[in-house]
């Protein structure tokens, strides 16, 4: 290949840049979600996630009520700090904000730059400095509620786990704090119903048996199809290949009816059985291809030594087929974890048995459509496990893909 590389260094650069651009294009959507999931909800709607490390300008409103008005010469004066009022402090947990501008009406919350003085229609004056300290003067004693102050402030990046805690427990920060006072800790909240943690557990509950059970059934069948001679073998293999592409949609109505008739109904048992059945063609196909490629000598010398088929299978084939078993296990795990269709049909749609994909698709996207921080955190909770499995087991996944389709 020196021919190409030597021919044009410019080409090499072009390739590097092109690949870098493609990788960035592929990463940006996921990155956006990841960054958003850690951002404060006010900041999410105030500036794009790509500006998360930069201070965000947000507008606030508060009342000038730190101190009661006191007389100073001719006029009444209120002094204090807009950033310190409880209304603002609740939104600014990190601190370190700087006022850039202030205003007197909700329509123009940033009409005057910080440090200048504004005059109201009544002749009152207000000045707010960058550090938040303000001075309000009025000709007569203010009555009723303290005057409103609007201001814009640059708030430092605020990265929190708050979205995750909210989505896991289904209780926002305030209610979590209230529960803490009652003596109900975060862990207890997480295990009570309503939060997505419940759905997370449900997904695990569906996934693990649905991954393990088909492997054993398929392994025996694959061995028979690869190494045992019997009439109808070719037909069975053809049937398995055909069933690989049967659309699941076809199976939904008749199987649900069948489950209802035999009393399983919509339940975890039903979904385990369904996933087992739907995963079998791929399992048998992958394992048979792999087992058929094992060296004939090993199996025949074992036969000559008097090993039975059962012994050959459990002592020789099964250990040797570990890579193929791992490939299928990863496939099936990813597929059952990520599945929405089967879960929607074969599990009841109540809160105690919904899996994460159903919860996100039907519940969060519908009712919480605008709460981006919650959505991002929920998505990441559901994505984290498969992505982790993907990066640690990539080798087996690739091998399985190659065995499954390049043939």
């Amino acid at each position: 290949m020196q021919g190409i590389a030597g021919q044009a260094p410019a080409l090499k650069w072009a390739v590097n840049i092109a690949v870098a651009l493609l990788v960035i294009a592929w990463m940006v959507p996921t990155l956006g979600l990841l960054v958003s999931s850690f951002r404060d909800r006010d900041q999410i709607s105030a500036s794009g996630w790509w500006r998360a490390p930069i201070a965000v300008e947000m507008t606030f409103r508060t009342r000038a009520d730190d101190t009661p008005a006191r007389i100073e010469g001719e006029s009444w004066v209120i002094e204090g700090n807009v950033l310190a009022t409880s209304e603002v402090a609740a939104r600014l947990q990190g601190g370190g904000a700087r006022v850039t501008a202030f205003g007197l009406t909700a329509r123009e919350p940033a009409a005057f730059p910080a440090g200048t003085q504004a005059t109201t229609r009544d002749g009152d004056t207000l000045s707010v400095r960058a550090d938040g300290s303000y001075r309000y003067t009025a000709a007569s004693q203010p009555t009723g509620q303290a005057p409103r102050v609007y201001f814009a402030a640059l708030t430092p990046p605020d990265l929190t786990l708050d979205n995750y805690m909210t989505v896991l427990t289904a209780q926002d920060a305030e209610r979590r704090a209230a529960a803490e006072v009652r003596g109900v800790g975060f862990w207890q909240l997480m295990f009570s119903d309503g939060g997505i943690f419940r759905n997370f557990i449900n997904t695990f509950t569906v996934t693990i048996p649905a991954t393990i059970i088909p492997i054993l059934i398929a392994a025996f069948a694959a061995y028979a199809l690869a190494w045992m001679e019997f009439p109808g073998r070719a037909l069975l293999i053809a049937a398995v290949v055909g069933l690989l592409v049967v659309p699941l949609q076809l199976a939904l109505v008749p199987l649900l009816n069948l489950h209802n008739r035999i009393g399983i109904g919509q339940s975890f048992v039903g979904i385990w059985l369904a996933h087992t059945g739907f995963g079998l063609p791929l399992a048998i196909y992958l394992l048979r291809n792999y087992m058929a490629g094992l060296p004939r000598d090993i199996i025949e010398s074992a036969r000559v030594d008097g090993a039975t088929d059962f012994q050959i299978f459990t002592r020789i084939i099964l250990p040797l087929s570990f890579p193929a078993l791992a490939s299928f296990a990863i496939f099936q795990f990813l597929w059952t974890w990520n599945d929405l269709l089967v879960a929607k049909v074969f599990l009841p749609s109540d809160d105690t048995s919904r899996v994460m994909t159903v919860r996100i698709a039907d519940d969060l996207l519908g009712s919480r459509g605008g709460d981006w921080g919650i959505l991002a955190a929920a998505a990441f909770v559901s994505i984290a496990v498969p992505v982790l499995v993907f990066f640690t087991m990539q080798r087996y996944l690739v091998r399985g893909l190659l065995a499954g389709s390049v043939k």
């Binding site: 069948a221 659309p247 076809l250 059945g277 994505i383 389709s405 043939k407």
Partner: protein, 325 residues
């Protein structure tokens, strides 16, 4: 009983049940049914060996029959009955479907998906596979582009909801438009083009799959053919299109058909992004909207999907049989 405990129990029952079945059935066959002793010793060993394969495949065959073969027949049969399943209507459901404009739209959209997604995914996959082939950091790049494969369609839809969001402070697409002074748009509501914006999500997921397989195929090309072409003075483009692509056409076809089959089944993206509104309905999501309401028509849609997949299925079986020879 909590589902988690039930799950653990199921694993135990499933695993031990399977192992127990195979072990016990094997033992029964060798010791009781056809014991390898007595006058019929030789014949019994042969008989046992001819029964054994069936013992091994029996659970799989049973599961496949109940969970895949029976539903195919069951769906075909059910699609000939009315909504409640009480009255035989022949092909009435199909006739009603083809008169329904929503169904025709779904069929057209599905055809569009089946054309665009496999073509673009395969093309991009091939491009990236070739570009990263000799790159020092090629494996990292490939791994990152492959990553969306691990993400659920629901998760991917959510990720892209952020990209497409109408608020330029949330959606990066509209932020880019904003810097050029253009008004924000909602990509999933633009008639016709919204289909393409939804397809982008599936392409984003499937390109990694195409890339991994085609990259392996590119590696498998014999070096001599490439070297000979370089000696003969072929440029990089010629090398790629004249020497490499013709040698991996078979794999390209496999990738293409695999993605096509997938496209015909995916309902999650449309379901989560638009719910089938704004003219984005496709067959699988259309079927889901009928499910639980009109099983007769829902199964008829499923059968239509099956009919569309059928040619691919036959081709697959042919390929598999050729390999076995």
């Amino acid at each position: 009983m909590s589902p988690l405990v039930q799950g653990l129990l199921t694993i135990l029952v499933g695993v031990f049940g399977c192992v127990g079945y195979f072990y016990a059935a094997n033992l029964l066959l060798d010791r009781v049914v056809f014991p390898a002793r007595g006058p019929d010793q030789g014949r019994n060993i042969n008989r046992a060996n001819s029964v054994r394969p069936w013992l091994f495949v029996l659970p799989a065959v049973l599961a496949l029959s109940v969970y895949l073969v029976y539903p195919v027949v069951g769906s075909l049969w059910r699609s000939l009955f009315n909504r409640a399943g009480s009255e035989f209507v022949g092909l009435g459901n199909y006739a009603a479907l083809f008169q329904d404009s929503a169904f025709r739209l779904a069929l057209m959209n599905n055809a569009l998906w089946a054309l665009v997604v496999p073509a673009v995914s395969t093309f991009l996959g091939l491009l990236i596979a070739q570009l990263t082939d000799r790159l020092a950091w090629g494996n990292i790049a490939k791994s990152l582009i492959f990553m969306p494969m691990a993400i659920s369609f629901v998760g991917a839809s959510l990720i892209w909801k952020f990209v497409y969001a109408g608020n330029p402070d949330i959606g990066i697409l509209n932020a880019v438009r904003d810097t050029f002074g253009l008004a924000p748009v909602d990509p999933v509501q633009i008639p016709f083009w919204n289909n393409l914006f939804l397809m982008v999500i599936l392409i984003w997921i499937q390109t990694g799959f195409a890339m991994v397989i085609l990259s392996a195929a590119l590696r498998g090309i014999p070096e001599e053919t490439v070297e000979a072409a370089i000696i003969d003075g072929a440029g990089p483009l010629q090398l790629f299109f004249r020497i490499k692509v013709p040698q991996i056409v078979g794999t390209i076809l496999v990738v293409w058909t695999t993605i096509t089959i997938l496209v015909l089944k995916v309902f999650d993206i449309v379901y989560t992004m638009t719910g089938g509104n704004f003219g984005t309905q496709i067959l699988p999501s259309y079927m889901m909207s009928l499910m639980f309401r009109d099983d007769g028509r829902a199964t008829a849609v499923a059968v239509v999907i099956m009919i569309v997949v059928l040619p691919v299925m036959i081709w697959n079986i042919r390929q598999a049989r050729q390999e076995m020879r």
